[in-house]
């Protein structure tokens, strides 16, 4: 007799709602746990975040959770020598011992000078933002940076999206947009903010017939799905966008006059020095009242009565409006001029300008949920590719000017800053934030990822921070945290201290910043380094103590996608607040970093500061404010935040069961710009003072800040690579964000590695077939890629028609060498190793490090092949 084997019945079989952290998209997930083991990850269809869909990285999270190379115990280095490839000779120690060492170091530094603590963390794990920011505030250090996406990430995009759209980034209003132009952006087509949600919305928009133009040196994630791909010379986006603006203004005389009068500073009168003309009594900017034919404060005249154009005589002075200055500025910036810089034919630039203007349907309206609103179904968006350059600010601003000219900024069908206005849950009115105006009528964002707002900017002053952000107020991220000239700059500006302890969370700055040699030198100067991570990384080679972190599948967070300006799809639909919770028990001796920071705060003696920091950061309202001297776990803090926002019955336990809370968005929230009395600057008048003040501090110290980066109107300004003349270095290497990998973090994941190996682009350098033929290269050849500065990397070429003939596109941030990540080791092309990290290669406006580099490419010829 044969007895059929019976499958054992699982004692436990549950699906747990939580949030993905394989990238910072924070899609909502369901983890399938059977007898304590995670067996599958799916999207949570109840959530707006991903709407039940996951990308390949999200599904592969199971392999990162159970990776046998995960850290399980605290480690201490026994080898005092540090360097790339130097074995730290780790020894395992107990948590008690580790915390004694770390607590003592931090206490000592705080007593001495809290600014000597330097904190760096990854952006990949979005949930780390609040605990780490709050810890930094409580400790009292102004020195922190994030290096997950590299220094090229977001510096200009976030700044300008914040000033012009009150949001962290911009997307087309996928539900209504008919014509979208993408400049170096892939929103809805690969990775990034609200990634999976945007992918669904973008696909629906294309199916509906949205015409999509992608201006990009490489035709990959967005370009491959576009209606039209427009290849340009790397980093010249501003030249195309300004050429299109010229076509609108000077060839078509087409702009949205009511919008420009009511929603921008276009009608503000300017004096001979370029500054606003101001009212003597109130100091408010003046406009020209066409009825009384006199200058009046901007808030004393109805917008329709304001003069948008013209030069008006005030007190004997000839005073152009800001819009008149913009017109004059655009006059020479013709499509032909744009072609000479970008290589894109003038006829194409002109046609794109004409199509953009025509499709904007200026003057039309549409009804959305009973509200009649302006209908402008065109959007010009940009992101990392366009702004990751020395000309970061102007490249992005020039693109956004297109939206401002046709009045499509945050209007139905237009270019949306996502979710900058939230009126709160219907039962509690929380969270609540709305953009508001300053005394000049210009918009201040109602919420931001950090308290350092994009606008208003602070006055430049002598630096107190390692980053010199004090001197460069448009900066978000600064290369000076790891640059070759940091000591020179610190001495020049009398920085009164040097970093003594670096506290790292999940960041592998050796791979993600620039060339490893430069970063390594800066790390060697820091006496003590603590790293909290999932794996040993190349960065760990410089750490003194390594502490094992829980992965997102083992950790809590009450706000994985808050604020909504970072990670919630834009447009009409629903607000959605999910939580993150452990799907499985933490293995080994791993600890949640957020709980670890609570413990460290106690050991340092800053519990009161930490609790007050959480009260401030989470805007906790009574009775859910933290008592200052009481010790809370981070779980308890999460519980307080959820109850504070959604009422006492909606605490952490409720969310752990239900996963998300949702409520409908209102047109007044999504299309807030029509309703709120705020203006945005099409003329950045405030830069005139900013430059004068910054340069007045810099010049006496032998440092010149170029004025052309602080003009109120955007121009094309070249990258260092555009000015290289060496004939051997004939290609522009640039990096782009891969859809298969998240920066350097996921390359150890075997499923993603396998996928990337199958993909012809992920681990190769993409070169135009014709350029390859000229160099005698075949597809798949091993090559050396060498910068003008003599930095050299190795990789395989992929020959393709889908790249600009001068471009060499490489997905970042590959090239691991640590033995501790055997799957990642040796994979891909380490483009960051070509990048200089110094002031010369950074924007004099926002210190954005340039991501393009002029290179020569030669075959390896037996050395490696």
């Amino acid at each position: 007799m044969v007895v059929a084997a019976q499958a054992p019945v699982a004692a436990e079989d549950v699906w747990i709602p939580s949030a993905c952290s394989m990238c910072y998209g924070t899609c909502s997930i369901l983890g399938h746990r059977v007898d304590g083991v995670l067996t599958k990850i799916e999207g949570n269809p109840e959530s707006v975040l991903g709407k039940g869909r996951l990308c390949g990285k999200g599904i592969s999270g199971i392999m990162t959770l159970y990776d046998p190379h995960r850290l399980n115990k605290p480690l201490r280095r026994t080898n005092p020598e540090k360097g790339i490839g130097v074995d730290p000779k780790w020894e395992e120690i107990s948590w008690d011992e580790a915390l004694d060492i770390v607590g003592e170091k931090l206490r000592h530094v705080r007593q001495d000078d809290p600014r000597k603590l330097f904190i760096q963390r990854t952006t990949t794990n979005t949930s780390s933002r609040t605990p780490w920011q709050v810890f930094g505030w409580a400790f009292g250090t102004p020195n922190s940076w994030v290096a997950g996406g590299g220094l090229h990430c977001g510096n200009g995009a976030h700044l300008i999206s914040g000033i012009m759209h009150a949001s962290w980034s911009v997307v087309p209003d996928f539900q209504y947009c008919n014509y979208a132009v993408y400049f170096g952006a892939s929103k809805g087509h690969s990775a990034g903010h609200a990634s999976c949600s945007n992918m669904g919305m973008a696909a629906d928009a294309r199916a509906r017939g949205m015409h999509m133009v992608v201006v990009d040196p490489i035709c990959n994630f967005a370009g491959a799905k576009a209606t039209e791909w427009v290849p340009l010379r790397v980093g010249t986006d501003a030249a195309i966008a300004l050429g299109m603006c010229h076509t609108l203004v000077h060839e078509l005389r087409l702009w949205d006059s009511p919008y420009l009068k009511a929603k921008t500073n276009g009608p503000y009168l300017t004096g001979p020095d370029g500054r606003y003309l101001r009212d003597a009594a109130t100091n408010k900017p003046l406009v020209w009242d066409t009825q009384t034919k006199s200058a009046k404060p901007f808030d004393a005249v109805e917008p329709e009565q304001m003069a948008l154009e013209g030069v008006h005589t005030v007190s004997g002075l000839e005073c152009p409006t800001a819009f008149e200055r913009l017109k004059a500025h655009l006059k020479p910036l013709t499509p032909e001029w744009g072609e000479s810089i970008s290589t894109v034919p003038a006829a194409t630039i002109r046609r794109l300008g004409q199509e953009f203007g025509r499709e904007a349907r200026i003057g039309s309206t549409i009804e959305v949920q009973g509200r009649t609103l302006p209908y402008r179904p065109v959007a010009a968006i940009a992101f990392r590719g366009a702004q990751g350059h020395k000309n970061s600010v102007y490249n992005f601003l020039a693109v956004d000017l297109l939206n401002e000219l046709v009045g499509s900024a945050d209007m139905v069908g237009g270019c949306l800053g996502f979710n900058p206005s939230c009126h709160g849950h219907p039962e509690t009115g929380r969270p609540h934030y709305i953009p508001y105006a300053d005394e000049d009528g210009l918009m201040i964002t109602g919420i931001w990822m950090a308290p350092h707002l994009p606008y208003p900017m602070h006055e430049p002053r002598m630096p107190e921070t390692m980053s010199l952000i004090d001197l460069y107020p448009m900066t978000m991220m600064s290369p000076l945290m790891a640059s070759s000239d940091q000591e020179e700059m610190w001495q020049r500006f009398d920085l009164p201290y040097r970093p003594e302890v670096l506290l790292n969370f999940g960041c592998n700055s050796l791979l993600s910043v620039g060339n490893a040699e430069t970063v390594a030198k800066t790390l060697k100067r820091i006496p003590f380094i603590i790293s909290i991570d999932l794996f040993i990384t190349e960065f760990s080679e410089f750490a003194d103590i390594v502490l094992p972190d829980c992965s997102y599948m083992e950790a809590h967070d009450s706000r994985p996608n808050f604020p909504f300006i970072f990670n919630l799809p834009g447009g009409m639909g629903e607000w959605c607040w999910p939580v993150k919770q452990p799907v499985v028990e933490a293995a080994g001796e791993r600890r949640e970093s957020s709980e670890l920071l609570v413990e460290l705060a106690d050991r340092i003696g800053i519990r009161e500061d930490l609790n007050e920091g959480y009260n401030v950061s989470m805007r906790l309202a009574a009775p859910f404010r933290l008592e200052r001297d009481k010790r809370y776990t981070y779980r308890e803090i999460c519980d307080m935040e959820l109850k504070s926002n959604f009422g006492p019955e909606h605490g952490l336990e409720w969310f752990k069961q239900h996963g998300v809370i949702k409520w409908p968005k209102k047109p007044e929230e999504v299309y807030w710009r029509h309703f709120e009395n705020v203006r945005v600057p099409i003329y950045w008048e405030f830069l005139i003072d900013t430059w004068e003040q910054a340069n007045a501090l810099a010049e006496p110290r032998g440092w010149h800040i170029p004025r052309e980066y602080y003009s109120p109107l955007p121009s094309f300004l070249p990258c260092v690579s555009h000015e290289e003349t060496s004939e051997q270095h004939d290609l522009y290497a640039f990096y782009y964000r891969d859809a298969i990998h998240t920066n350097s973090f996921t390359m150890e994941n075997p499923w993603l590695d396998e996928t990337a190996q199958l993909d012809p682009f992920s681990y190769t350098a993409a070169m135009h077939s014709e350029a390859g033929r000229r160099k005698g290269l075949k597809d798949g050849d091993w090559v050396w890629i060498e910068s003008v500065k003599g930095r050299r990397i190795r990789g395989r070429v992929h020959l393709t028609e889908a790249i600009h003939p001068e471009g060499l596109g490489i997905a970042a941030c590959a090239g691991h060498w640590t033995e501790a990540q055997p799957i990642a080791k040796g994979k891909g092309v380490f483009i960051n190793d070509l990048l200089e990290v110094d002031m010369e290669h950074s924007s004099p406006a926002n210190l954005n490090l340039d991501l393009c580099v002029k290179v020569g490419v030669t075959r390896c010829d037996g050395e490696w092949s």
């Binding site: 009292g140 102004p142 996406g149 977001g154 976030h158 931001w448 308290p451 350092h452 002053r461 009161e608």
Partner: protein, 97 residues
Amino acid sequence: MALVTIKLFGMLGAMAGTRDLQLELAEPAHLRDALDALEARFGPEFRQRIMRNPRALQTYLRIFVNETEVTDLDTVLQINGLPTEVSLMLLPAAEGG
């Protein structure tokens, strides 16, 4: 005289060397007066840290008067003789992504 309790959190407390202090201010006392008194005690660097320009506070400074966030330098600090606590916290932080 108005008796005002000051709480300096984070960097401000660490640089001042104390988290708690008491101020006696002439009535009617305003937030501006409290900041002037703190500058007199801790020097001009204190003001430089908290002011964006000579007229406005840093956008990353948070000031609470009896747990209510305020931004107006003319905020009255003592009403009907009730005890007043002013707490200040600087929130310097970089962000990217």
